[in-house]
Each structure stands twice: as C-alpha cells, then as structure tokens.
C-alpha cells in the first residue's frame, strides 16, 4: 500500500514565502482562501491559474493581482477547457523550441463547487478522459457563494440556502444530498485526488507536494468554511473546519494508484450536531423546535460512510 510520503512534519517546515499577496477583496476569514494560500505556497509561482467565475474571481481585480504567477479569468463552465487550451499552447511552443523548459508552467484550475459539480463537470469529465496534465482545486463552500449563496449540487441535505430556505412546505431546507464529486472523479481514474482542509496545513501541504511531482489530472477538493454564506463569526472558520473533520462529515483522504486512504481519520467521531449547531444555515434544525429526524438522517449518512473503515 502506498502511503503519503511525508515531507513536512511541523508548521515551521512550510514554505515561508507567500504566493498570494494580501489585499484581496475576499471576505475576512474566508476558509477557501486559506486552502488556496497553503496550496499555492507549495506549487510556487510558475503556475497559470484558470479561474472559473465565482468568489475567487475577486482574487484579481483589474489592475491588481495578488499572484506572482499568471491568472486567466474564465466563464463558470470554462476553466477546464481554458486549461486544455493553455496547456496545448505551452506544449506546442515547447516542442517548437520557441519556449524553453524554464518557461514551462503548471496549469491550475481554481473553481467553486457550483462550477465543479454543475456547469463545469461535463468539460472536466472530458479532460479527465483525455488525461489532461493539470491540477484542479475546487474550493467547496457548498453553494453559489458569489451570487448570494444559492443551492449547488454540493449543498448538503438540511442546509438552508437562498434558494432553499426552510419554509412551511419545505422545512428541511435543501432536500437533496450533496453530490459525491470525489467518487465521480475517481470513476475516471485520474492520477491523484485528495480532499484537504485549511485546518490541516501539514496534510494539505504534503498532498500538494506530492501532486506537484506527478503528471496527468490531479484533483483537490478543499473544505471551505464560508462565514458569509454559512452564517458564523469569521473567527470560527478554522474551528468549523476542524469540526467538519472531527464529526466525520468531511473525510480527509486521497486516491492514488487505485487506492483510497484516509490520511486523517477521526479516532472517535463527534456527533454531527456539534458541526451543525455552529452555523446559521442549519439553525432551523434546532429552532423553533429541534428537527431530530433531519439531524438523525444526517448522522446516519455519515455513519454509513465510515462503516467500512471503522
């Protein structure tokens, strides 16, 4: 069994240089930004980011950019086709020797869960089929954040979003289950897939360090607590990221050479409500009266996921 090669053991080992300059317009306490920040520290500056329309479009606001590398803004469905285009262009130039290997760039897609699970998924599947050599970073804030937090295929069952508030005839809020993007990607056997949490910088950095040296499609899903959309005080972003892992709601794992390994398995899972009760998007599960059936349903789904591993 291949386990994660460990480069980093301590926070002090992480790259001290920041690849994302401060001053961006993203919310104070944005969990996704923390994930991207740590990931890019590892990938370095020789990257070309194809960024799907979403919150992270605010990374670069003309005439400013926080990045030392290149950035290309694409439509919500278009970051992966854009990645294919720039990858091909670079490869052609490299083969014609109009660019040298020193000028080569890693192609990185940055996209929200809406783009990744919905409108962008078809093109991503096509690129996985073609074994496009790129890194995909999906910051998962579990809704369409940029436009005011509407339901995406990644919004979890029982959460309220702008389009699925808890109302008389739909008290649960979102009634569908979150899409399993990890397994959808896995079915196409890309080179590497990992889920990462901003609260686990060592695990995250090791995964990026590993992916960096591989070839082919390499995919990341980053749990991205969103104070604005989820409804919590920005200071609690990391606490909520931790609870997502400790309750087992967000499994930290990787897929490599045909196997899935949990790289951080909670020893004793906390009850899911420890996570749910921290956020306004779940407050209708607790007041005016407790919706025990919904909370139980969420717990059951999590238990079922972990059953084979515990």
């Amino acid at each position: 069994m291949t386990t994660l090669e460990t480069h980093y053991k301590k926070i002090k080992d992480l790259h001290h240089e920041e690849a994302v300059a401060p001053g961006t317009g993203l919310c104070a306490g944005c969990g996704g930004l923390e994930g991207l920040r740590l990931g890019l520290k590892e990938l370095g500056n020789d990257v070309l980011i194809c960024n799907a329309a979403g919150c992270f479009t605010l990374l670069s606001v003309y005439p400013f950019t926080p990045l030392k590398g290149s950035w290309l803004y694409t439509t919500m469905g278009g970051p992966v086709p854009a990645a294919q285009g720039v990858r091909d262009a670079l490869d052609i130039q490299l083969s014609r020797k109009t660019l040298t290997e020193d000028d080569n760039l890693s192609i990185v897609v940055v996209a929200g869960d809406g783009s990744s699970n919905d409108i962008g998924l078809g093109a991503t599947s096509a690129a996985l089929h073609r074994k496009l050599d790129f890194i995909y970073f999906c910051y998962d804030n579990e809704a369409y954040g940029n436009t005011g937090f509407q339901l995406s295929a990644s919004s979890p069952y029982g959460s309220s979003t702008q389009t699925t508030p808890s109302v008389k005839f739909h008290p649960v809020g979102a009634e569908l289950n979150k899409k399993n993007l990890f397994d959808i990607w896995r079915a196409q056997e890309p080179t590497y897939i990992a889920t990462v949490s901003p609260r686990e910088p060592i695990d995250l950095s090791n995964k990026f360090a590993k992916a960096k040296n591989l070839v082919g499609p390499r995919m990341f899903i980053c749990m991205s607590p969103c104070p604005t959309g989820w409804g919590f005080n920005p200071k609690d972003t990391q606490l909520i990221a931790k609870l997502a892992v400790d309750t087992g709601i967000f499994p930290i794992k990787e897929y490599f050479e045909g196997k899935v390994i949990h790289t951080k398995q909670p020893r004793r899972r906390l009850p899911v409500e420890k996570f749910l009760e921290t956020q306004k998007r779940f407050s209708h599960l607790f007041e005016p009266e407790r919706k025990s059936d919904v909370i139980e349903q969420i717990q059951k789904t999590v238990d079922k996921y972990w059953e084979p591993y515990e």
Binding site: I11, K12, L14, H16, E18, V20, A21, P22, G23, T24, G25, L26, C27, A28, G29, C30, G31, L33, E34, R37, L38, N45, C55, T57, L58, L59, S60, V61, Y62, P63, F64, T65, P66, L67, K68, G69, S160, P165, P198, R199, P201, P227, T228, P234, K235, D236, T237, Q238, L239, K280, S283, E287, P288
Partner: protein, 301 residues
C-alpha cells in the same frame, strides 16, 4: 424630501439599516426608497446605502450625493479615502458618528463644519445583542429619531418586518427592538431643514470611440501588486500579539487566510496591520490565547 446616506462595512448591517429606516418611514405615512451600493468586495469592505423619504412620490434615482443626514456606522470610516463618508456633506447636513469619543473632539479631529451627533452604538450592540457588529436596528433607530418624523411604534414594526425577512429568530428580534428603543430614547430629534428642491437638468450624451481590443484587454504585468490595496481598513477589531508569552509556535501564521502574519528573523510572528482584515482567526486559534483583541477606533488619541 429627506435624503439619508449610511456608511459602514459589509457585514455590519448597514444595508438592513437603510431598509428598516425606509419601512419605518413608510409605516409613518411617507413614501420611501432604499438601496445599497457596494463593489465586488466581500464582508468587511466599505459599503454605502441610501434611504429617501418623502410625503410625495419619489422620482429621484441614483446615489445621494448631498445628504441631509449622514449615518456613519463606524468612526474608522472617516479615515478611509475609499469610503469618504463626508463627501458631498454641507452645512445643512446632520452628521451622526458611531463613536465613544466626544462630539467636540470628533469635530476638531475631522474638521467637521457642524458638531456631529454621537453615540457609542457598538457598546450598545454588545450590551443588547452580545455582538458589536450587528448595528442595523440601532443605526436605523438613530436615523428615525434624528429625523423626528417617525414614532417608535413604526420603527418597532419596521425592525420586526425586516429582521424577520432575514430569518432572525424572535428572541433576537426582541433584543433588537429593545436596542432600538434604547437608542431612540438616548437621542433627541434634530432640526432638519428641508433643502429647496433643484430642477433636474439633462446632460449631453457622450459617445465613445472604438479602439483596438488589445488596448482594452485588462492585462496586469506587475506580480503581486494587490498588496497596494490596504485591507487593514476593514478591521473592526485588531489582534495584538503578547510577545512576552508567545512561544513562536506559528500556529497563527499557518491559520491566517490572508497570509498577513509574517515570520521575523528571530522566528516570531508579526502581523501586517496594513492588510490584516480583522477576522480574528489568529486570536481564536492561538493555543495559549496570547493574541488579544482591541477595538479599532481612529488612529488618533
């Protein structure tokens, strides 16, 4: 017509305050119009909202350039050139500032032409709501009271309506109403002089010339120049490291989403206050609680 302009930071409830004020005026028999204006930035960045109140129909549209009442949701905005809350204010304009300082001091420091109305809204919000940055009901109450044309029951109804629409539970709505009442009682109506209405004149249309697309393509050639934008002005609270106790574990450095905690040559963390947005994750995450939080007010003593 009364024109009220509200300034604050995203997440502080300024937009809701403009809505509450509009509804309270409506319940008092006025016509009302309210809307916010903000850029692409998220929570924390300066925002502005407007409420127009009139006995007749309101035909005027667009931002309020010359306000009758200015409601400034936190004092630090006065030092923010992007927010520029005093823009367009004249001798007719009544200025309200959320601050714990004396009106005379504020007038002197910010060279205000009139003595501002001042109340420490943040402390009241902490007292009533246990949250200093939920200022919507309090700021709306200030506007309603200063205008002197809105009675408390109308304000109460408006707070109830607007906060309910936002999914705020009844317990918290009740606390907001108590807060609004306290603010209402602490202030006295001002004398609002109605401005003589100006006729609106039309301006000439400007037609622009077509240029080659490369001239218009937004290409940024200076890497990392985002740092020129100082997001430090978003902060309502400032994290301060207690270096006597800090053991340089660097957890705060690892957890700061904006990467504004640097590492000094001696291995200790250092906060870049030009950019720190004040999320306070660092203070929350420091294992020994060696980062304390201090309320931001203007940079003068």
């Amino acid at each position: 017509m009364f024109r009220v302009r509200l300034h604050g930071r995203g997440g502080q409830g300024i937009k809701t305050a403009s809505q509450i004020l509009g509804s309270a005026a409506f319940f008092s028999g006025f016509q009302a119009q309210d809307f916010p204006l903000y850029g692409a930035e998220r929570r924390g960045a300066p925002i502005v909202a407007f409420t127009r109140i009139n006995r007749q129909n309101i035909l005027e549209r667009g931002p309020i350039l010359v306000p009758d009442i200015l409601l400034i949701g936190d004092e630090s905005l006065l030092e923010d050139i992007q927010a520029a809350p005093l823009c367009g204010a004249d001798n007719f304009t009544a200025i309200f500032i959320n601050s714990s300082r004396l009106p005379e001091k504020l007038q002197e420091n910010y060279s205000l032409s009139t003595l501002p109305h001042v109340l420490d809204i943040t402390s009241l919000c902490v007292k009533f709501l246990d949250n200093g940055s939920s200022t919507s009901a309090a700021i709306a109450a200030v506007g309603a009271r200063l205008l002197g044309q809105i009675e408390f029951p109308a304000l109460k109804e408006a707070v109830e309506l607007e906060l309910n629409a936002q999914g705020i539970n009844s317990d918290l709505r009740k606390k907001n109403i108590d807060l609004a009442e306290e603010v209402f009682q602490l202030l006295t109506p001002m004398e609002v002089k109605e401005r003589p209405e100006k006729n609106i004149t039309s301006s000439k249309l400007i037609s622009s010339e077509q240029k080659p697309v490369v001239l218009a393509a937004p290409i940024i050639l200076e890497p990392g120049n985002m740092a020129l934008r100082k997001t430090g002005n978003w902060r309502l609270d400032r994290p301060e490291i207690d270096y006597e106790h800090c053991n340089n574990c660097l957890i705060c450095y690892a957890r700061c989403p904006d990467g504004v905690i640097g590492i000094k040559t001696d291995g200790s963390p250092e906060i870049d206050y030009d950019h720190c947005k004040g999320c306070l994750i660092c203070a929350q995450e420091c294992p020994g609680h060696f980062i304390k939080t201090v309320k931001e007010s203007g940079s003068w003593e």
